[in-house]
């Protein structure tokens, strides 16, 4: 406990010192987020909940999605959160080229969601199969299975890209 309190006091809020540090992780993080928060507040009743499904990604996309929730990007403070059940989700975030083995699970997850059932794909594989395009065991892109409305490109997309693309989408839709 002593260590936690010491660390808490000395470190302060994690997002703050990192902005000015040598690594300079995310200088434009804050302004994007504030805008995002306003939109989510007015359109989704303060919370935009996402269920993530991996349909055969290599794991890098998952790592970057998790990174958006770390103390540095902390996407939750803007009202975006990743939830454990599709029943609680406004949006479905799908990664991977859709392995045949995941097809049923993906469809079931989709059918378990309440409206508005926003389908977002993330990473190059999810768009058209990416580097695995043409393989005997993939369906080749999520949009052949579900109505995708937003794609976040990259291999993998960086956390700031994910936040930025989400914002641009929520703004224009």
């Amino acid at each position: 406990m002593k260590e936690i309190i010491k660390n808490r006091i000395l470190r302060g809020i994690a997002t703050k010192p990192i902005m000015g540090s040598a690594l300079n992780i995310s200088p434009d993080n804050e302004s994007i987020g504030v805008e995002l928060k306003e939109i989510i507040k007015s359109r989704f009743g303060r919370s935009f909940h996402i269920r993530e499904v991996d349909t055969g990604s290599c794991g890098a996309c998952e790592s970057e999605i998790i990174a958006t929730t770390n103390p540095i990007y902390d996407i939750q403070r803007f009202g975006v959160d990743f939830v454990a059940s599709p029943r609680h989700a406004d949006a479905l975030l799908v990664t991977g080229p859709v392995s045949k083995n995941m097809l049923v699970a993906l469809k079931k997850t989709y059918s378990a969601m309440p409206e508005p059932k926003i389908i977002i794909t993330l990473g190059d594989c999810a768009r058209d199969g990416g580097i695995f395009k043409g393989s005997y065991y993939i369906e080749g892109g999520v949009n052949s299975v579900l109505p995708v409305v937003l794609h976040i490109p990259g291999c993998p997309p960086q956390p700031t890209d994910i936040i930025k693309t989400l914002l641009a989408f929520l703004k224009q839709s």
């Binding site: 406990m1 349909t55 055969g56 290599c58 794991g59 790592s63 990174a67 990743f82």
Partner: protein, 527 residues
């Protein structure tokens, strides 16, 4: 030890007559045996070398002679050599003797050979498919055969996978997955429990199967290198390094000393960001969020450092034949060393917080014990192996650049979640120390990878100790330098079986902790 003398000894000891050495290089030897003696030869090597089956695969390379080739690899750490037992199976009688009853670590490989090539391991009691799920893939289609054509789209098989049934009063089943609560790969866990403790856990994987090994075939080296980075994103560098080393061996491309050091630096950076993420993951899985978030900050700092040094947060696109495409300038070195200093400070705080929390330490202590004997039987390797008293680490077997920094392998004996945590804590600090020393030795000012080399037909094994454990790429090239066969083995392929034994007797709520303490790859296992 001379491999010819060794083979003579084995022939005499185990009364095997047919083995002959068909190919040899410094760290690999290929021994061909008759189909009748294949099992005895494998068991002989298994006993003599105390090695589990490291890789075991078929190939369809001699269509004109109408045979399939099966190769089974063992590692001798003392001799720094990989031993391959090679056997040819006629395609009109596609049966080979199973060794799974004598060598448990062979069992999954045999199931894989059966589903991918249709070769029957006679005597293996379990030939259920691993990756081509019965629900979506009809029988009789073997993807890795050269004359494979896929089944008609949307084929409905109407079949179901048969899980092992545990019967008895009060036993209930808990199915979990493939879609999990967290942001993680897909897999299905079938727990059988009576009251609190788990009696049996069957893990069904293959949900991220993308047909990667088939995708390699027919690709040029350049395309295949890209693909190798996309098999397991959290070990992208180790994978591409292992792939490059296989090609470098085949084409006799030398790896310069600087290149060896650069690769070692990046492989250790990859190890560090993953180990710290796992340490944080173990904290979050017992509900201890403060250190978990501290670990997430350290991981993010490391990914940002990767971005600065290599231009990619997951270290993709830097490996190339003969070395890496990035050099560390003087500024880069300063940045690396100063970042490591602040990471070191944060990490020692993280360690202190975890170790001073009695409830956390109590929770990980004696949880999810994987006994040494079980680990040995299933060929458990890497972090999980070292925590159960199996010292194997490819960095000490094939040290190369690590010789110059006096690498100390980690080792624990208790095999519980705490032991796996301790291995990670130790290895993180050891990696940090080695990177600092490597950076001091590096005098590279320009990239000196050979740009001009002749590719030729041949085969070879490339390997690297990724943060999880050994990654093996066995590659065969044709005369034009096109990939004919590429077999990938991630240590997860062995270790998932270890996990299903480690959770026995533990309560289901401790499963996330046990699982995280192994943190095995879905993508690297399913390929």
């Amino acid at each position: 030890m001379d491999s010819r003398d060794f083979l003579q000894k084995i022939k005499a000891l185990h009364k095997i007559s047919s083995p002959e050495i068909i190919f040899e290089r410094a760290d690999e030897v290929y021994i061909r045996v008759s189909r009748e003696e294949f099992g005895r030869m494998c068991i002989a090597l298994h006993e003599q070398l105390h090695s589990p089956v490291m890789s075991y695969f078929a190939s369809d390379e001699w269509r004109d002679r109408q045979v399939f080739t099966v190769r089974c690899a063992f590692l001798s750490p003392e001799n720094r050599k990989w031993f391959f037992v090679v056997v040819e199976i006629p395609s009109h009688d596609p049966v080979f003797p199973s060794i799974a009853k004598e060598i448990y670590s062979a069992s999954l490989f045999e199931r894989e050979i059966k589903e991918m090539y249709g070769l029957e391991p006679s005597g293996n009691p379990d030939v259920r498919r691993l990756r081509l799920h019965d629900e979506v893939w009809p029988e009789g289609y073997y993807p890795l055969r050269k004359d494979f054509t896929g089944p008609a789209a949307g084929a409905i098989t109407g079949k179901q996978f048969q899980f092992v049934k545990v019967e008895g009063e009060g036993i209930f089943e808990v199915p979990v997955g493939p879609v999990h609560a967290g942001i993680i790969g897909p897999g299905h866990f079938r727990f059988s429990a009576a009251g609190e403790p788990v009696i049996n856990l069957e893990i069904r994987l293959g949900f991220t199967h993308r047909g990667a090994e088939k995708m390699f075939e027919g690709k040029s080296i350049r395309e295949a290198l890209k693909l190798s980075e996309c098999l397991a994103g959290d070990a992208a560098f180790a994978y591409s390094a292992a792939f490059c080393r296989a090609i470098e061996k085949i084409a006799d491309i030398p790896e310069s000393d600087d290149a060896k050091i650069m690769r070692a630096i990046f492989i250790e950076l990859e190890r560090m960001y993953n180990h710290v993420a796992d340490i944080g993951g173990m904290a979050i899985d017992v509900g201890f969020s403060f250190p978990a978030n501290l670990a997430a900050i350290i991981k993010e700092n490391m990914l940002a450092l990767n971005m600065k040094l290599a231009g990619h947060r997951y270290l993709k696109h830097i490996n190339t034949l003969g070395g890496v495409t990035k050099i560390l300038s003087a500024d880069d070195k300063t940045l690396l060393l100063s970042s490591l200093r602040s990471i070191k400070r944060d990490f020692s705080e993280l360690e202190k917080i975890l170790q001073s929390s009695v409830s956390f330490m109590d929770r990980v202590d004696t949880t999810g014990i994987l006994r040494k004997m079980t680990a040995e039987d299933f060929g458990v390797l890497g972090v999980a192996g070292r925590a159960s008293g199996i010292p194997l680490d490819l960095r000490s077997v094939f040290p190369e650049a690590y010789n110059s920094v006096n690498f100390q392998p980690a080792r624990e004996d208790k095999g519980d979640a705490l032991a796996r945590l301790k291995i990670r804590l130790f290895e993180f600090k050891e990696s940090m120390r080695m990177i600092e020393e490597f950076a001091g030795k590096l005098e590279m000012t320009r990239i000196n990878c050979p740009s001009d080399f002749a590719l030729k037909a041949g085969f070879g094994l490339g390997y690297a100790e990724s943060w999880r454990g050994p990654v093996l790429f066995w590659v065969k090239l044709d005369a034009k330098g096109i990939i004919e066969r590429c077999k990938v083995v991630d240590s997860s392929f062995h270790n998932w079986q270890g996990l299903s034994f480690a959770v026995l007797g533990n309560i289901i709520p401790d499963f996330p902790l046990c699982n995280k303490s192994f943190n095995l790859s879905y993508a690297g296992n399913d390929l």
